[in-house]
């Protein structure tokens, strides 16, 4: 018995993963059910008897969770492995497949979270927000089109690469060349995020000092800041938040609560004043 998975079945498996990787998510099993459903058409095609199918699908009941978009490569790899197992290749058994899955889901989650979710999406959103300045829907539409084309064809590409190349597909991602690409994209991300911060974050102080009897204040703190470095206060608060999050390991929620306290004290002493009126 030496079956190959047909193109049609591979595509079907990919679509099931593309859509269903997180539909039935729970804290206990996370993406396990999405994985089972994606492997189902492959297993059904490769094995004729019900018993064999059940035995094969049982491999994939092991816990699975990763960044699902980049994780398509893992599904692709296991499709290839399953084909090898059905053909009777030695060494490809339950343990080998699950060892590979468990070994890959950590690194792929790390790269996927920082590269796809933490860099590519914010860059696209940054550009989209720029295009939507003033309330134009153009930026939102730009994001919908560009991101979805990128996500769909990108995932499809790495899924197929995973199937074709097996374990070698991951070397491309984690190897030296992959690292050079990732580092460069991160660099691009850092610059764009800086521009996003400067364009959209606006922390301003209302603090002024007026000499007794004078009409004009002799110190307008905001102007002083701006003459030193435009956006000084915004950048300062961002670095402060980064320090708390990254160096002090404080959770985002607690940082937000701390900002509420700072805002309250700031308003009390007149450092912040949004100048509200009806």
């Amino acid at each position: 018995m030496n079956k190959k998975i047909s193109k049609k079945t591979l595509t079907k498996s990919f679509h099931k993963w593309y859509y269903g990787n997180l539909t039935c998510f729970s804290q206990e099993h996370m993406q396990t059910f999405g994985y089972l459903c994606a492997m189902l058409p492959i297993v059904e095609e490769l094995y004729d008897t019900k018993e064999e199918q059940l035995k094969a699908i049982h491999t994939y009941t092991a816990f699975f969770n990763t960044e699902p978009q980049l994780g398509a490569v893992i599904v692709g790899i296991t499709a290839g492995l399953e084909e090898a197992r059905a053909a009777g290749t030695e060494d490809v058994d339950d343990e080998a497949i699950n060892g590979l899955r468990a070994g890959l889901m950590g690194p792929i989650a790390g790269i996927g979270d920082s590269l796809v979710v933490g860099t590519v999406i914010p860059i696209l959103l940054g550009i989209a927000m720029g295009m939507s300045t003033g309330g134009s829907p153009l930026g939102a539409i730009f994001y919908i089109i560009v991101w979805n084309l990128f996500a769909y064809f990108g995932m499809r590409f790495i899924f197929n690469k995973g199937y074709d190349l097996g374990g070698k597909a991951v070397e491309f991602l984690v190897g030296e060349k992959g690292e050079a690409i990732r580092e460069s994209i991160t660099m691009l991300g850092a610059i764009v995020i800086g521009a996003v911060a400067a364009s959209w974050v606006s922390v301003k102080t209302a603090f002024t000092m007026t000499a007794a009897g004078a009409e004009e204040p002799f110190l307008v703190l905001q102007d002083t800041f701006d003459s030193v470095y435009p956006g000084f206060l915004s950048a300062g608060v961002i670095v402060f938040c980064w320090y708390l999050l990254a160096k002090k390991k404080i959770s985002p929620l607690k940082v937000m609560l701390l900002l509420v306290v700072i805002a309250f004290i700031g308003v009390l002493i007149g450092f912040f004043d949004p100048n509200l009126q009806y």
């Binding site: 039935c24 860099t119 800086g194």
Partner: protein, 279 residues
Amino acid sequence: MEISWLQAAILGLFACLSSMPGLGGTSFGNYTLGRPLIGGLVCGVVLGDIQSGILVGIAMQLVYIALVTPGGTVSADVRAVSYIGIPLAMIALKSYGLDAASLDGQSLAASFGTMVGTLGTVLFYGTATINLVWQHIGWKSVEDGDLSKLNIVNYVLPWISHIICSFIPVLIMCKMGAPMVDLIKEYLPMDGLAMKTLFTVGSLLPCVGIAILLKQIVVKASDFVMFFLGFTLAASLGINLVSATVIAGTFAIINYRIKMVMITKKASGSIDVDDEEDI
């Protein structure tokens, strides 16, 4: 501004599609419809004010620009931010008579959205917990040797979780929104301390969003230089985001070429190692 039952129901449907674990799929649901900028467009279209929708969406998008959910733990729920927070913020802006494009309007929207988004994590854990029931059915059928139920478990039954945890909460919150905002308005005057604090918090919150991103990007001190390069381009030179991306891309390509040269050099033999020792 009133939200009709029909409008609230449409927003509820989008909430089902857009959450993490959502029924629109990860890429199109969570990472497209769930992003506040896109949520702003959807809410704007449904509620008949695209411009305000987009502007409120931008204000909230900044706070949640780095919404990464490592290992399935969330600090805010996108369905709540985008489909409860945005409609309520739009109502509040109308009610207070604020312009969504103004700094005050953006601050109010950000505060509002963050509050709702944080409370919304309840919905995330609710959905994930109800899904356990469907997964239990799935396990049982695999053990019994019946694989046909797997698809129903993964694609159909979660709709029930979402009707309970996405559709109904959005429906209720959107309908109750207008009276609630009126109530807040009555008790908290605009020039009072509470409102001033709320607006100030709104202007500070996006800093957290950017800082979460930086936490991922900044590994060494020199990475901060790149961030400030971008900051300077926009703040001091007034360069817009698309142009800044082009400049950023140039730097990225140069960096990639340098790295590749280093890799091929390393691979081409020991001569270079000697060079390094001389230094």
